[in-house]
């Protein structure tokens, strides 16, 4: 079973890397990519069903620092999410990318990032995580810069700049752990730093370095700028990477650092926790507010991601098992919801070349499936009961209320304000699309229609998934609670 982890990580990496060598035609390439992605996803599925398998040590870098894989509860959540969404996004990408050039390069890196993301999920220790984290930046950069025009290159440089700076800071935090904690950096639930160890200030500064360093990918407030800019990438990339894989990798890394390295025992109640939580709370409101005033649909969704990622960070920085459970739930649910919304935005762009919210006027009638998916996703994200967003927000808020204290309560307030703003920025496009002003010109709409089957299938699957998660995730939530308590 342990080697299955290696298989899941290496298969997409290798098959992506060698893809350009084959000089495929389009159909062949699609089959090849889909086969590789599905095989990796099946491997992940098998791993999830099998439960925790031991550690697979790959390469020792030094006697203590070892690149190793291990799948534990938190990793399984992330891996499961990614494994579920990647095949869907691939289907979507096959159709979407048809009219862009450079398919080989695109799919090569697209497949490789899958392996890297799984690597992050299955990291056994912080070093391995850091390694894959850096790699993720590098393999996703070409995807951001895919179209090679000035805007995308600039966005790519911004992305690179933010990510590398973040990783550099995180590395320094890693070194603090390495020196003051366990030099193997192996993840242990509850952390491996002694609770009353020496050099507390350094420890806390190290935590903040890690938090903000990894937080860059999680788009926490002062470091969020790259995410809306990166929206120039092709939509499958924005949807999968900038709503799920990359940003969740950042969140996941913060989770690992908080719960599995420094440990709540060391951090809870310190100024470091308060700082981190303060920034998360602020970002929640900030991201939503920015989304509300952003007319460009994809950038609006990106700001929404900024806000929602901080929901998760907020749950993590509560540093209670309940908070972690809420965070994990939101990590899962947000992934499903946001990818749906991005797919919708992409389908609209693909079919009508419209990118701004006011341009959506009246489209609802012509692209019913797309907008139905948007409606479901939007309602879910706004926190309507019976859809998944409500559950995770409820979990987060309940955890915060249990934790008590000014900042957590402020966080609850931020969640509510953000829910309100979310409704504002997601329902508005829907109203535009379904209830256009009377007599609004409908020219150019006639040829607008729902995208082809390959893009529609993900819509249906995702809608079904959202409904299912909304009403049937009791067992899942219980499992997440167990994971969050360190019992998996």
């Amino acid at each position: 079973m342990r080697f299955l982890m290696l298989f899941a990580v290496l298969l997409p990496l290798v098959s992506g890397a060698v893809l350009p060598l084959f000089r495929f035609r389009r159909r062949q390439r699609e089959r090849y990519v889909f086969a590789a992605v599905c095989a990796a996803s099946l491997a992940v599925l098998a791993l999830l069903l099998h439960g925790p398998a031991g550690t697979l040590r790959l390469f020792p870098l030094t006697s203590t620092l070892i690149v190793a894989l291990r799948l534990d509860g938190a990793g399984a959540v992330f891996a499961g999410l990614v494994a579920f969404l990647w095949p869907l996004a691939s289907l979507y990408a096959f159709e979407y990318i048809k009219h862009e050039s450079g398919d080989d390069r695109f799919f090569a890196f697209y497949t490789m990032s899958y392996g890297v993301t799984l690597g992050i999920a299955m990291s056994d220790n912080l070093l391995t995580l850091y390694l894959f984290y850096e790699l993720l930046t590098l393999v996703t950069l070409p995807l951001v810069m895919h179209s090679r025009d000035v805007r995308s290159v600039r966005a790519g440089m911004k992305y690179l700049c933010y990510s590398i700076a973040g990783a550099a800071c995180a590395f320094l935090g890693l070194m603090v752990l390495y020196t003051l904690g366990d030099p193997t950096l192996r993840f242990v639930y509850g952390g491996f730093l002694p609770a009353d160890g020496p050099r507390r200030t350094l420890v806390l500064v190290g935590y903040l370095l890690c938090f903000f360093g990894f937080g860059v990918k999680a788009a926490v407030f002062p470091f969020h700028g790259w995410l809306p800019a990166a929206g120039v990438a092709p939509t499958p990339v924005t949807a999968l990477l900038h709503a799920v894989a990359v940003v969740k990798a950042g969140v996941f890394a913060v989770l690992r650092v908080t719960f599995y390295c420094f440990g709540p025992a060391v951090l809870a109640g310190t100024w470091a926790q308060h700082t981190a939580m303060g920034f998360a709370v602020f970002t929640i409101v900030f991201g939503s507010a920015m989304a509300l005033r952003e007319p460009h649909l994809k950038r609006r969704l990106a700001y929404s991601t900024v806000s929602n990622l901080s929901y998760i960070l907020f749950g993590i920085t509560l540093m209670t098992p309940a908070g972690l459970a809420g965070a994990l739930a939101h990590m899962l649910f947000h992934g499903v919801m946001k990818i749906t919304l991005f797919f919708c935005a992409g389908a609209i762009m693909y079919k009508t070349q419209r990118q701004y919210v006011p341009e959506l006027t009246g489209l609802g009638r012509y692209m019913p499936v797309t907008f139905a998916a948007f409606a479901v996703g939007g309602a879910a994200l706004a926190g309507t009961p019976l859809l998944p967003g409500f559950l995770s927000k409820w979990g987060l808020a309940a955890a915060a209320m249990d934790a008590g204290g000014t900042l957590p309560l402020l966080g609850v307030a931020a969640l509510l304000v953000s829910a309100f703003l979310t409704a504002g920025y997601l329902y508005a496009p829907l109203v535009e699309a379904f209830f256009p002003p009377k007599g609004a010109g409908e020219h150019g709409l006639a040829q607008a229609h729902d995208p082809g089957l390959l893009m529609k299938v993900p819509f249906f699957v995702l809608m079904a998934a959202m409904l299912a998660l909304g009403v049937g995730s009791r067992g899942l939530l219980a499992l997440l609670a167990r994971i969050a308590a360190g019992r998996w």
């Binding site: 006697s63 700049c161 350094l202």
Partner: protein, 499 residues
Amino acid sequence: MALVQNFPFITIVFSLTCGVLCAVLPGRGAKRLCLGWLALTTAMSGAVLRFTLTTDGSFLYRMGKWGAPFGNELRVGVLEALMATAFSGVMLLSLLGGMRHIFADCEPGKVNLYFTMCALLMSSLFALIYTNDLFTAYVFVEINTIASCALVMLRSSDRTLVATTRYLIMSLLGSGLFLLGIVTLYGITGELLLESIAEKVQALFAAGQYSLPLTVIIGFFSVGLAVKSALFPFHSWLPDAHGSATPSSSAILSGLVLKGYIIVLIKIFYRVFGLEIIVSEQVSRFLLLFGVLAMLVGSVNALRERDLKRLLAYSSVAQVGYIYVGIGLHSELGMVAACVQILAHALTKPMLFICAGGFMDVSGGHKDLAAITGAGLRDPLGGAAFSVGALSMMGIPFFAGFVTKLELARGALEAGPVTLGITFAALAVSTLLNALYYIPIVFNLYTRPRDGAWAGVRQRYHWEYAAALAAFIALNLGFGMGSDWVVGAIRRGLALFGM
């Protein structure tokens, strides 16, 4: 005395001889002799390294059998042997990798002189590594200077002429200060052997005498060697010299020559003054400060540079800054980090320069960033090696640069809060800057040029180029993954220094 113990002396002296022989041989013959000899010295240094590791000690080698206090001595420990092995290996690979350019760039009939200079340079590097007295150090510093200037100049163009002149003048200033330091130290102590000076200096220091002259002397050594190793703010000559020379020269100069001087400085700091004095004289503060500035200034300049080789040269300025930061941490861990960086950079930068040469081959001889667009596709091996180098420079795990970052951060964590803060900030910013100029280049390398320029051009691989790059890649990865062994060796070496 075991046979192995003669090897250091043999490598030095026979390198000189080899240089002389090369001067009278025709080009191809000189090449064969030089390469063969370098392979042999690598093997011999390796043997010495093995010997020191197994005996776990250092030994002295007296040249001319004169005893202290008069003689010239070599001192061989783990660290010296390690450096010698690495240096001669890198020298060999750098020459191999840039061989085609050497023959293309040198004036016909003068190719053998290139190998002469290489042999002389190698000899001086060995001597700088092994020397145990200031006299030998001075002599070989000068040989080193002249040989490296000649290496720059042998690619005959106006640009190299000017660059060589500036390089030479700066070097002369540096060696002048170095010599002044030696002389002043001799004036106070009357000794030239490192151990003997150390004894006297310790006594003087303990008695509180001559504290001002001692400070001035440390200043002479530091500034003199800093000029020669292009520490900020004395780096202005470097981009010209390294940017305009033939790829092998750039590789050797960036990878080895700069480091040779730094090794001398480390020796003087450790074996003459001892950490205590260095710390109390606040010299390390300055080194740290200027190291940090070098890291930033070098990188920022590199970021603005559009010429690949000059960019790499500026990157060297930044990388030298890392070494000085390590020294400036004034702790054992810091010194380990400095030594690691010497090796890591010696393995990485020459590879990048050789790649730059390869890219020039497939881009019509141009070396500005716009011209090499897509060069990675036309020269896949070069592209791969350059990518490895770039990742190493960014400090990604698995690559050599990561070990430096790791050790430097470890060293910084032992220091006080201010030093820690400065070093951490510098590390973070520098990592970022490195990524910002290396990653776009790598990206550019794999972008097909829009205008279809150089379509159909492919690198015609010669075994020398291919072998050199393959070996560099392997060494870089090996260093990154086997750093435990290297760091352990360095630590033992430093312990033998009398830490």
